[in-house]
Structure formats: C-alpha cells, structure tokens
C-alpha cells in the first residue's frame, strides 16, 4: 500500500486500470454459467463469514423484537403506544409466515432476507437458506401475501432470489376460477416507489374485472416452476389493447419486496396451493 495522494497516475496505474476494466468487461459478457460459478464461489468462500454475521444480526434483531414485544406487553399503555406499531407489523409478518407454513401442503423452508445496498438490490436478494437446507434453483419464493420471486442460484448456506421486479421475471397467471390466463411480467415504474406488474396475452373476448386477484396458473404441472394458486396481485386497470386480439392489464403486486424480511422457499413438487393462500370461506 502506498500513500501518494499528490502524485498523478503512472503508466503502471493506467495498466492496472485497463486490466481491471478488461476483466470487468469479460465478466460482464461471460456466459451465465461462468458468472454463476464465480458468484457462487465468492459468496461461498470470502463472503461467507460476512453473510454469516449479517444472518446472526438478523436473528439478534428478531430476538430483540420478541424480547421488546414482551417488555411492551408488561409496560404501560403509553410506552406501547410509542413502540408497538413497528413491533406489531414485524410480529404480524412473522405470524403470517407461521400460519402460511402450517397451511402449505408442500415441503418448504423459511429464510431471512439479507437485503444488500447496491442499486440492483431491488431486483435480487440474498436469502439465509441454501442447499444444505434443501433450497434448489428455480424454487418459488413466497410470503403469506403472495409471490416474491424465484431462487436464482444456491450456495450451501445461502441463496440468491430473483424478485418479480427483475425485467427477466415471467410467470404464467390466471384468475382464481381459471376463466382467463396470461403472462405476468414487470411493468415500467410509475414512480420512485411504484413498481407494477402487467398481465399480457389475455384473449380479447375475456374481460377481467378490475379488482380481480391474479394467481400463478401452475402450467407445467408438478414439474413446473410455480405451483398453481400463489397470489401475484390484483388487476387495477386495463393497459394496452390489441384490437380484436388481446388485452394487457395493469396488476398491483401482492407483495412489495423492499418490505419483506422473512420468506418461505417452496422446495416440494409444484402442486395446487390455492387453498393455502385463499381465505377459508366462513
């Protein structure tokens, strides 16, 4: 390490810069299999201790939340009025996950979401469960509210999930009664905090009413990626129309990835999950 802030760059510096640039470009254009291998190797070795630290801190945070929740129960109503809201939301999320895991008729594993801070972190997230927990590539990632994304790559102790916000995300979708089918993909951003989905390819004669909830269709059967019946979102508007051919609908996503702290990864066969996600009729 040399401390030379007052010196201009030398030929050696330029050479190092150019080599790094070339390596970066090579990494950028490398086949996805090579990229995944390098990514997995770095995540599974050099980054493993740091991810373990982050995982432990997440656990400590969750434990602290529970301890604080107990304290809040014991404390006065005034104190709870100050702090209960955030705890209630956290507890609500954890409770929803617990209820969902009890209802799911398929093998699954719970995981913490280890959010990172890069500009692309809204498109992919690191999960605290990996292949040693049974997580496999292309496993659907869900919360009680609905679909979050799909597992993209796996290391023994962690995995990376591709979120529905990613431009490459696609899922076959349908209405609950199966009257309309289409493909759901991310739509252009409507604001800094507003990402929408779109349901395209719905036949022109099939009208889907505003407010209809859209679910994964489970096309592909038990060997498909997404099981049938996971909520994706709700139709909020009619988008583009191809006269006499098909319509596109704007879909309000069921889940906002930035607000997700815990998820469930489905690792069993893609069987029908409609009953696990739909409210039982009283």
């Amino acid at each position: 390490m040399t401390f030379a802030p007052d010196r201009f760059s030398s030929r050696r510096d330029s050479l190092a810069f150019i080599v790094c640039l070339l390596l970066s470009v090579a990494a950028r254009v490398a086949p996805p299999a090579v990229q995944d291998t390098v990514s997995r190797a770095v995540s599974g070795t050099a980054l493993a201790p740091f991810l373990a630290v982050q995982h432990q801190v997440e656990l400590i945070k969750a434990s602290r939340t529970r301890v604080t929740a107990l304290s809040v129960l014991r404390d006065s109503a005034l104190v709870s009025a100050f702090t209960a809201q955030a705890l209630r939301e956290e507890n609500e999320r954890l409770r929803e996950i617990l209820q969902l895991t009890a209802r799911l008729p398929v093998r699954h594993v719970a995981a913490e979401v280890l959010h990172q801070s890069g500009p692309a972190s809204g498109l992919m997230v690191v999960l605290s469960a990996g292949s040693s927990d049974g997580v496999v590539e292309r496993a659907p990632v869900v919360v009680a509210g609905g679909l979050v994304g799909v597992v993209h790559s796996v290391t023994p102790r962690s995995s990376v999930a591709l979120l529905w916000t990613h431009p490459d995300f696609r899922v076959s979708a349908m209405t609950l009664d199966g009257s309309a089918f289409g493909i759901v993909a991310p739509r252009r951003a409507e604001g800094p905090n507003v990402m929408m989905l779109e349901l395209s390819g719905v036949p022109y004669q099939e009208r889907v009413p505003i407010g209809t909830t859209i679910y994964t269709s489970g096309l592909g059967g038990a060997r498909g990626v997404y099981p049938r019946g996971i909520p994706i979102g709700q139709i909020v508007a009619v988008g583009e129309e191809q006269e006499g051919w098909s319509r596109t609908y704007v879909v309000q996503p069921a889940v906002h990835p930035a607000a997700v702290s815990h998820v469930v990864v489905l690792i069993g066969p893609a069987i029908d999950l409609r009953e696990a996600f739909t409210e039982p009729v009283p």
Binding site: F3, S9, F50, V53, Q54, V57, K61, L123
Partner: protein, 165 residues
C-alpha cells in the same frame, strides 16, 4: 505517526466499514436509501492510494457486490473500478483536504457508481432506471456522504489526512 502504523490503522478502518456493512444492514432500513459502506471503504482507500491500486481495490469491491446480487455480473466490477480509479486520480489532481469537499466527493462517487452500474448492467426498464438515478441514488449518495464525513471526523487521527472545516 510512522507510515506502517498509518497503514495498519487505515486497514482497521476499512475492515470496520466492511464488517459494519453486513452487521448494520438489518438496521439501516430501505436498501435504496441506506449508506453504502463498502463503497465508502473504497473511496476512503482511493483518496489516499495510487490510481492503479484504487482501480484494483474497486475491481475487488465490485466482485463482492456482483457476487451478492448477480443481476448484471460484471457491471459492479466495471463501475467500482472506474470510480476507484477516478477517485484516486481526482484526489491527486485537485481535491483539497476539506470536509465539505470530501462529502461532495463521497456523494458524487456514490451517484456515479450507481449510474455506471445501471448503464453497464442494462437490467432495469428505463423508467425505473430514471427514478433510481434522480430519486433513490441521490438519497443514497447523501446518506453515504454523511456517514463518510462522520467516519473522517471519528478517525481523523488515524487516517493520514489533514481536514480543515
């Protein structure tokens, strides 16, 4: 303070920032606006290293970032390499030892990194990219700059830097 102890202290500060990036992540809130301590470590290193060393450091930081979120593998390496190199070069050419200038330097470095990642990655639809660059990236750059100033203030005796207010 001799050169070797300065180096050790710089390494401690950089390691601290890297560990805090992972340890504090759950408490920093929305990832889009929270400070990026890995990038901050790179910039703190770059302003006192040679451009070539800063480029290599940037490449390694980019490799880490790309491995964590392999959305557009290589884009992070490219962006951090360029930011590291420019930071070291720019510092050598015209930066004064001033807190506000350093804050601006952290701000511009963060925003430029985001711009380069998004352009090189081409993984976002245009409207989402625009919102990211005009809304979220400036907020992230601001929080990173604020944390950077706090780090410089806290460790001003440890870092070989003369800061005037």
């Amino acid at each position: 303070m001799n050169g070797r102890s300065e180096q050790y202290r710089l390494v401690v500060v950089l390691l601290l920032l890297v560990v805090l990036q992972f340890a504090l992540r759950p408490f920093l809130g929305d990832f889009r606006s929270s400070p990026d301590l890995l990038l901050l470590a790179l910039l703190v290193y770059a302003i006192r290293a040679r451009p070539g060393q800063a480029a290599v450091a940037g490449f390694l930081v980019g490799l880490v970032v790309d491995s964590l979120t392999p959305v557009a593998f290589g884009a992070g390496m490219l962006a951090h390499t360029v930011v590291g190199y420019l930071a070291a070069w720019g510092k050598a050419v015209f930066f004064a030892e001033n807190l506000i200038v350093n804050a601006g330097f952290f701000f511009v470095g963060t925003w430029l990194r985001d711009l380069l990642v998004l352009v090189a990655g081409r993984h976002m639809v245009q409207s989402a990219m625009a919102w990211q660059l005009v809304f979220w990236s400036p907020i992230k750059a601001l929080t990173t700059a604020i944390v950077g100033v706090v780090v410089l203030m806290l460790f001003r005796r440890w870092l070989p830097i003369r800061i005037t207010e």
